[in-house]
């Protein structure tokens, strides 16, 4: 099997990578992380084995780039005073702004989960990876990844519900 043109990789996985970045960073920083992720991936791409799991590979790079950005800025992941307030630059309709506010609320709730739960929820529910792939990234068994995600979701239900 041959490697797909890198353009196809960006089109297929661009949204997942953006979700991963946004789960860890504010919108503006997430854009930087998205860009750095695909630049690093493009550089290494010709050496990637043709049977590699491209999405898991990208999520791993994205996570590393997000951590790099957080470290460089000496910030902690997504705290309450860092709600992304910009409404986009291209005249996004009202309901989309509302949807984004809701997504930001979810992202914040995710950000305060215990480390492994946050990773499991991010990769499985936001990144779209299967539990086996999640376990390959965070370590441990597939079943442990499933449990971490389930625990995370239970906590989220509680915090999101309590806010209403």
């Amino acid at each position: 099997m041959m490697l797909l043109p890198f353009e196809s990789v960006v089109r297929r996985h661009g949204e997942v990578v953006l979700r991963v970045c946004r789960s860890m960073l504010a919108v503006h920083d997430a854009d930087d992380a998205w860009s750095e992720t695909f630049l690093a991936a493009m550089d290494a791409y010709p050496r990637l084995p043709a049977d590699a799991n491209v999405e898991a590979w990208l999520v791993t790079i994205a996570r590393r780039k997000c951590i790099d950005l957080l470290r460089a800025q000496g910030r902690r992941a997504m705290t309450l005073d860092r709600i992304p307030e910009e409404q986009g630059t291209l005249g996004i309709p009202e309901d989309a702004v509302e949807a984004r506010a809701e997504a930001d609320a979810v992202a914040q709730a995710v950000a305060v989960l215990p480390h492994r739960q946050r990773q499991a929820v991010t990769y499985h529910y936001l990144g779209g990876l299967g539990y086996r792939e999640v376990s390959e990234i965070i370590g441990g068994t597939t079943e442990a990844a499933r449990r971490a995600a389930a625990d995370g979701i239970r906590t989220l239900r509680r915090t999101m519900g309590a806010e209403r």
Partner: protein, 195 residues
Amino acid sequence: MNETKNELPGMELGNLHARLAREAEERGLIDVGYRIVDSPVGRLLVASTEQGIVRIAFEREGFDGVLQTLADRVSPRVLEAPARLDRAATELDEYFAKRRTRFDVPLDFALSRGFRGEVQRLLPTIAYGHTTSYAQLANAAGRPRAFRAVGTACATNPLPVVVPCHRVLRGDGSLGGYAGGLDAKRALLALEAAA
């Protein structure tokens, strides 16, 4: 291919993609940059390496397959990077508007091998508005009996329009074949004849 680009996440991804193309170009990461250009003979995919234009394809050839072939034979670092193709797009526009009779944009013959490559390099010597036959071209290539191989070379020309395989006809004056379809070949010949 662009079906997601008008929805909200898609629009944001479109902006992110444009930024990625710009930064990847700055860092020298794009081995093959491409762009889709509208033309009177349908949409054309125009792809370029650092050296020059390496592939022009008609829509009927299937853009996805063309991009995969570029990934396999040149490099998988293929990215839609319209800015790299600005000059090629301008020259094609001028050609189709009958304001240009020869192309100056640099070419990369990386996809042209052996005798086919030799023949393809000869094609630009056929002047605008003129035609030749497969047999005459075989003569010019120094292999008078190889007119079939010359036909194959024309049929597999990776740079149609810019490298004018459309100016090669059968000995009896009939059109022969064309990767872009006979209507496209007819349209190009008519365009040049009317200039």
